[in-house]
Amino acid sequence: MTGPAAGRRGPSRSSIATGILLLPAGLWYVLLLVAPLLIVVLFSFGEKARNGGYEPAFVVDNYGQVLARPDPFLDSLRLATIGTILTMLIALPLAYFLATRVGGRKSLLVLLLVIPFWTSFLIRTYSWLIILGPRGAAGFIGDAIGDPAFRILGTEIGVLIGMTYGYLPLMIFPLYVTLERMDRSLVEASKDLGAGRWASFRQITLPIILPGLITGSILVFIPMMGEYVIPAILGYGRTFLIGNALVLDFLEARHWPAGAAKAVGLIALMLISISAYLWFLNRGRRTREVSVL
C-alpha cells in the first residue's frame, strides 16, 4: 500500500522518512539478531579457548559431540511433543466452550485467561514446588497409595505439569480466535443433513480450526523445546533438557563452541519437527495451504 504522502510529497522526501522510520528496528534486527545468529554458526565450528570462550578453528567435533550424546535432544523432543498434545487436549474443549457457549461474559472470561499468562512465569512455575511437594500433592497421593516415597518434583511428570501449565494460554488464544470467527451455520447445516456431533466436528469444525490448532501447537512447542526454567526448578535439574545443556555450556563450563553447536542442533531439530508436523497435517488434504503464523 502506498501512503498518500508518497504521491503528494515526491519520492525522495517520503523515502527518507520511511528510511528513518525503519532504521532503529532494522538496526536492531541486523545487530542483535542476524549478526548474533551468524556468530553462533561460526563459533560452532571453533574450539574452546584455554580459559573459556572461543578460539578460531574449523572442526566439526562439536557436532560430533551432539550426535554422540543426543539424550537432552531426545528428551526435549519427547517432553515438548507430549506437552503440546496435553495443552491441545485441555485447550480445545475450553476454547470451544468460550467461543460458543458463554455469551455476554466472554470478554471477562478472556481477561481472566490473560491475567495468569501476563504475570510472572517464573513465580507461577515455582509455586508448583509448594503444590506438588511432599507436603502437597505428592504427599497426598503417597498416603493414598501407601508409598511415602512417592514424588512428583524431580521427575518428568513434574516438568510436564509445569510445561503444560506454563504454555496452556498460548494454545487457548489462537484456538479461541479461530472458533470465535467460525461460521456456526455450517455446523447447523451439517446437522440438518443428518451428521452426528462427532461427524460434524470432524468434517466441519476441525478443518476450520486447523490453522488455529497449528499456530497454537507451534507457539507452545517452540518454547517447550528450549525450556530451561521449568526443568531447572521443578525437575531439580535431573530432567536434563537442551536448555539445561546450553546454560551449562555457556554460563558454567564456558565451552562456547560446544554450546553453539547444540544451539544450531536445537534450531535444526525444531525446524525438522515442525516441517514434519505440517507435512503430516497437509497429507491427504487437497490444496489448502497451511501457514505457520
Binding site: Y29, R124, W128, I130, L266, L293
Partner: protein, 321 residues
C-alpha cells in the same frame, strides 16, 4: 474466512435449535464442557493463589501454614538485595518498553510504504526474532556482545590512556535492555501493524485533502487510532522485561541483577515466605499494570466509539498473531 455463509438459518434460530438439540442429546456433554472450563480456570489460578496465601504465612517454613502474618512483606522490602533488584527491574523494564514501543511503532508505520522485497525481509526478521527460542536469542546475544566488547575495549583503553578506571564496555543494564528490545520491538510491530491494517483510511485521506501536513495527519488522525495498540504494546513490553529470567540471566552483569534473577536464586535454595512476599508484590504490580491498561483502553474506546478487541488489552493480545 473462506467458508461460504448459509443465510437461510438466522443466528437466533440456529442458537435456539442448538440449545434444543443440546437438551435432547447432550445435557451431559454441556455439563462436561462447563466442568472442564471450571477446572481449567482453577488450574490456571491455583499457583497464583498459593503463592499469595503463603506470603501471609507466619511460619518461616514456606510450606507449613501456622497463622496469618504480614511480617514477610516488611522483611522483603527492607532487604537491600531486594531493593536493588526492584530498582534494576524497573530501570530495565522502563527503558526497554520506551525503546521497543518507539521502534516497533515507527517500523510498523514505515512498512506501510516500502517495496515488497524489503517488507518481506523485515517480516522474516520479525518472525524469526519471535520464534527462535528465547535461550538461543540469549546465548547468541551474549557471545556476540562479549566478542564485540573484546574488540572494542582494548581500543577504548588505548584512547583513554592508562588507568584502571578507564571506561570499558561490559554486561549491565544496557546489554539486558538491548536484548529485550529486540523481542519486544517485534511484538509491538505486530500489534501496531494489526491495528493499522484494520484502520479506516478515509480519515487519513480526508486529512490530506484538507491540506494537512503528514505530521499533522499523523498526530491528529493516525496516532489516536493507533493508541490502543501502542498502549498494549508498551504494557506487554514492560511486563515481559520485568518478568524475564532467561535473557536477563545471560546478559546481566555484576550489580544489574533483576527481581526474577533474585527470585530464581532464592528458589534454588528452597522457597521461603520472604520470596513468596516478593512474588505476591510482583503479581500485584503486573496485574495492576494490566488492569490499568485495560481501563485506559476501555475509556479510550468509549470516547472514540471503538468496540470489540480494540477496547481491551486482552482482546489485542488474543487476536494478534
Amino acid at each position: 474466512m473462506s467458508a461460504p455463509a448459509i443465510p437461510a438459518v438466522s443466528p437466533r434460530l440456529a442458537g435456539g435449535r442448538a440449545r434444543a438439540r443440546g437438551e435432547r442429546f447432550g445435557g451431559i456433554v454441556e455439563a462436561a464442557f462447563r466442568a472442564h472450563a471450571v477446572l481449567v480456570y482453577g488450574f490456571l489460578y491455583l499457583p497464583i493463589v498459593v503463592v499469595i496465601v503463603f506470603a501471609f504465612n507466619a511460619n518461616s517454613l514456606a510450606t507449613i501454614w501456622t497463622g496469618f502474618s504480614t511480617e514477610w512483606f516488611g522483611a522483603a522490602l527492607e532487604n537491600r538485595v531486594v531493593q536493588k533488584a526492584i530498582e534494576n527491574s524497573l530501570i530495565v523494564a522502563f527503558f526497554n518498553a520506551i525503546l521497543a514501543t518507539t521502534f516497533g511503532t515507527m517500523a510498523a508505520l514505515g512498512l506501510q510504504r516500502v517495496p515488497p522485497r524489503l517488507r518481506l525481509a523485515f517480516d522474516a526478521m520479525t518472525y524469526v526474532s519471535i520464534i527462535v527460542p528465547e535461550i538461543v536469542i540469549a546465548l547468541s546475544t551474549l557471545i556476540f556482545l562479549a566478542t564485540a566488547f573484546d574488540v572494542v575495549n582494548p581500543a577504548l583503553a588505548g584512547l583513554q590512556g592508562d588507568g584502571a578506571d578507564a571506561f570499558q564496555l561490559g554486561r549491565g543494564h544496557a546489554t539486558i535492555i538491548a536484548a529485550h528490545v529486540l523481542f519486544n520491538t517485534s511484538l509491538v510491530l505486530l500489534l501496531v501493524r494489526a491495528r493499522l491494517s484494520s484502520m479506516d483510511r478515509t480519515q487519513v485521506e480526508a486529512s490530506y485533502d484538507l491540506f494537512a501536513t503528514p505530521w499533522r495527519t499523523f498526530r491528529q488522525i493516525t496516532f489516536p487510532q493507533l493508541l490502543p495498540a501502542i498502549v498494549a504494546g508498551f504494557l506487554l513490553a514492560f511486563t515481559f522485561s520485568f518478568d524475564d529470567y532467561v535473557i536477563t540471566s545471560f546478559l546481566a552483569g555484576p550489580g544489574s541483577s533483576t527481581l526474577p534473577l533474585y527470585v530464581f536464586g532464592q528458589v534454588k535454595r528452597g522457597v521461603s515466605p520472604e520470596t513468596n512476599a516478593v512474588a505476591a508484590m510482583i503479581f500485584a504490580f503486573t496485574i495492576g499494570t494490566l488492569l490499568i491498561g485495560q481501563f485506559l483502553l476501555a475509556r479510550n474506546a468509549r470516547r472514540t466509539g471503538a468496540r470489540g478487541s480494540e477496547a481491551s488489552v486482552a482482546g489485542m493480545i488474543t487476536e494478534t498473531r
